[in-house]
Symmetry: C2
Subunit: 526 residues, 2 copies
């Protein structure tokens, strides 16, 4: 891996100039990004005719399919190896386009994200190779009548479903984008990568490296292309509903996921709803750790990303803790105080808080503060190195369970609601109702009661969301199963990208003019 200094130079060399990809159908240049850290990006991406990109993918398809899963997986690993050497540059590109703190951006763009991709590559290869390539069987019915058995040989093939569209997201373009990209590539599908206009660079670098690897290996580079849109252009919608597009990957709002599942009916849609991350607080043996952990979670990269908790559900009767019964009001005050302590040091702020990249976050903060009781107001924070960066502390608003028209929708930016419910079982009902409708990246429960834990586990299974139980620390997600985070869980995420098609013929050794056979057969080899 190159040093951070070199990576910084490479990154700087990308700024203020066209970003070349040598793709078909170039119509002009488009510049859509700006860094919240007062650096001028001004990168001009090629805007290409979508029809030309799709035609390019179609031309590239037969060769990519013919390469077979092992070679495709090998090239995918080579793409990943080169991306790995560019981790710092990718981290800077995520940092400057999403506003995430640099250390968080490195986690979201570097080896951890590559690890997820590697797991998907291995899984996709394994699933392709589970398809038996050669079969041979005999019909023995005639043998019983004294005739030679009729031998048939068959070939199975994992047939790629077709052109794949990756719709990039503005907060985790690489972390969320790589699994679908590499799953489609290894299963033999060309991919059009359509980044969010606010964060193009991380995926543009990725596409350029992928095209380089493909071309060097003698493949048509149009197996992977970048489709950049102007802000306001409905390119994602146009591509997603094109009859040629057979796979769509998207991680983001329930609204767009719903739209995709309804409108992109010609495609398999892998949509993951970020939705309403929910924390149910019932009781705890470690109150201080709970408050500190939750405050930290509310801060983490909270400028833009959707991985912070939004809805914190507490019963009106209070929380039983090792420090006695804590009322919702007291809990809110303690959370607010902990937030202030976390954000007391400028260097810590720079490490924890992301810079706001879009107007929608500022609008969201202003709007949310008008509802309910503001428990912790969002205020500007100073960045020690980038005085121009717009950093905001988390907003925490107390609501009643009846205010679901407010908390039962996704709020961009560092907006969280302390929702006071009638009881923990009421919290559970609110959780079920809101998350089954809007999805969530995760849910968390704090309780010392095994019955409550069991009930929440069942509810989390019912609504299909990952659950953390009594984890007061910012514990890493399951490192052994990155893919389990993906839409639909592991195997389906890759098996949905191909079909199995068979052909069969007489086995060569046999006289094809044998008598008619109508019965069943027996497998003689695989």
């Amino acid at each position: 891996m190159r040093s951070t200094r070199t990576a910084g130079k490479v990154f700087s060399s990308l700024l203020g100039r066209p970003f070349d990809l040598h793709q078909p159908g170039e119509l002009g240049r488009v510049t859509t990004e700006s860094s919240p850290y007062s650096i001028v990006l001004d990168i001009g991406y090629p805007r290409c005719d979508p029809a030309a990109l799709m035609a390019g993918a179609q031309r590239a398809t037969p060769g990519w399919r013919a390469a077979g899963p092992r070679r495709r997986a090998g090239l995918a690993v080579e793409i990943l190896r080169r991306l790995n050497t560019r981790s710092h540059e990718l981290a800077l590109s995520v940092h400057h386009t999403t506003g995430q703190p640099l250390c968080a951006a490195f986690r979201a763009a570097g080896p951890h994200a590559q690890d997820r991709a590697l797991e998907v590559i291995a899984l996709a290869l394994a699933e392709c190779e589970r398809v038996p390539t050669n079969l041979r069987w005999e019909d023995t019915r005639d043998a019983r009548r004294g005739k030679a058995p009729l031998s048939v040989q068959g070939t199975c093939a994992a047939v790629p479903r077709g052109l794949s569209l990756l719709i990039g997201c503005p907060d985790y373009p690489i972390w969320n984008g790589y699994p679908g990209l590499f799953a489609s590539l290894v299963t033999g599908n060309p991919v059009i990568v359509a980044p969010h206009p606010r964060s193009v660079l991380p995926l543009a670098i990725t596409v350029r490296i992928a095209r380089e690897v493909l071309a060097e290996a003698g493949h048509d580079p149009d197996v992977v292309t970048l489709a950049v849109r102007e802000p306001g252009e409905r390119l994602h919608q146009r591509l997603a509903t094109d009859p040629m597009v057979r796979i769509v990957d998207f991680i983001g709002s329930a609204r767009f996921a719903d739209w995709l599942e309804k409108q992109a009916s010609q495609a398999v849609v892998f949509a993951h709803r970020t939705g309403l991350n929910t924390v149910i607080v019932d009781s705890t043996d470690h109150y201080q750790a709970l408050v500190r952990g939750l405050a930290l979670a509310l801060c983490r990269s909270s400028g833009t990303v959707r991985t912070t908790p939004q809805n914190i559900l507490v019963p009106t009767s209070g929380i039983a803790t090792d420090e006695g019964l804590i009322s919702p009001r007291q809990f809110g005050a303690d959370l607010g105080a902990s937030l202030d302590r976390q954000l007391g040091h400028p260097t810590r702020v720079a490490r924890l808080i992301g810079a706001v990249t879009g107007e929608e976050v500022r609008a969201s903060l202003a709007e949310a503060a008008r509802f309910g009781a503001v428990v912790h107001a969002s205020g500007p924070l100073g960045h020690p190195e980038h005085p121009g960066a717009d950093l905001r502390s988390p907003l925490l608003v107390r609501l009643g369970a009846q205010d679901d028209r407010i908390y039962a929708r996704e709020w961009p930016g560092p907006v969280a609601f302390l929702v006071v419910t009638d009881s923990t079982s009421h919290s559970l009902a609110v959780f079920r109702r809101t998350v089954s409708r809007h999805g969530a990246l995760f849910a968390a429960i704090h309780s010392t009661d095994p019955l409550v834990l069991a009930a929440v586990e069942t509810a989390a299974l019912d609504v299909g969301v990952h659950l953390a139980e009594n984890l007061t620390d910012d514990v890493p997600a399951d490192p052994a199963s990155a893919v389990a985070d993906l839409p639909g869980g592991d195997a389906h995420f890759v098996t949905g990208r191909f079909r199995v098609v068979r052909s069969r013929r007489h086995a060569p050794a046999l006289n094809p003019a044998g008598g008619p056979v109508t019965g069943s057969g027996e497998l003689v080899g695989a």
Copy 2:
């Protein structure tokens, strides 16, 4: 297995009376079937309120999910074992409702169909058990700083997607229905079975046996229910688009498959298009075998089923054969003569030809005969045992490649077209265009030219249809991979029916108040 005579008695005992299922929400009785073999069926199925069936399935869901994949697979096998003892009765029910000859009905309803189901059960169990149930990992970052590592344990669960709808088809209710039914059951999803009004009994018997097995094992029998509709009632459409229905299985016309994929956007749709079964004839070394095999295929159960070839593509320059160059006109005449030979014996007719069950087949035959040149006219045939049965010989009409408004749609009944193309590569283009749009159960190629075979193999992969090469006999489908016939190929057919959801917590041995951890972890056991 009980004797045929006993099965006949059991079958007779079902006729002319209500068929009890003890399902929730019974509104009345509905009778929709009639046998083309002059037997009065007059079976009254319970018509149930769809909302009550869905509510019943919802009530049954937690217990069925909690049973786990091994127990569910065990019960599925027990259902199958009992179905196996009723094979003759099931065959009679398929014979009398679909019109298929009895021997064909036995193949489509008996051990062969059960074999497919057994394969799906094994596959679904294996896929569920691939999900790791317990994970444990440690965060060693703090250990490097001299602190004890933080241990986290995780649980993964294969969460059933939800209520499954099986839309039965009128020609192969069991053969086509069992894979989806058993895949959904083993992966933990309750199933509403909605048969085609023309063929209810085979699936009604199946549902009754499934409910008996479930109840005897202490499970809620509403895991499996039957939803019978009156002719003309849009019950299938209503159920398929209900928000509660999360999985839909359908094998049939491209038109309804398209509708389902568009409208049932809340569900995973496993739709298989029967479409345009196509035979491309280029050249052969065994002309007589080719003609005989093709004539036999045109006859086979041709009263109703969609497994006969519809479009036979031949180049206008003729077919190179071991008997010289055969013109399309000569080929048509030879096929017609072979059809007449095949149908020369009444007992053979009864074994080969299915009885027409619906007006649409008669209308289809009448309409198709008005286009092009009739090469072999469809005429009535006598059944040796059922003089009242309406048996029709296959219709073969010669068309030009330009007549695609005629041959590029599905024709019910024994209708086939000899389509004369400019050349074999033109045949290939016609095949690609029509089958990629309408699907097909299979394609076949006859050629002695390896280049033609390779081109057709590629085209078959492109359009995703199974291919038989130079198989002049009625060779059994690959017995080792029944599931490969299913929509989407094997693994996806079951993995699409569940999601993987994780929960995680501190490993019990550890002090949960350990310091904050933000790095990645290492897997220490699985």
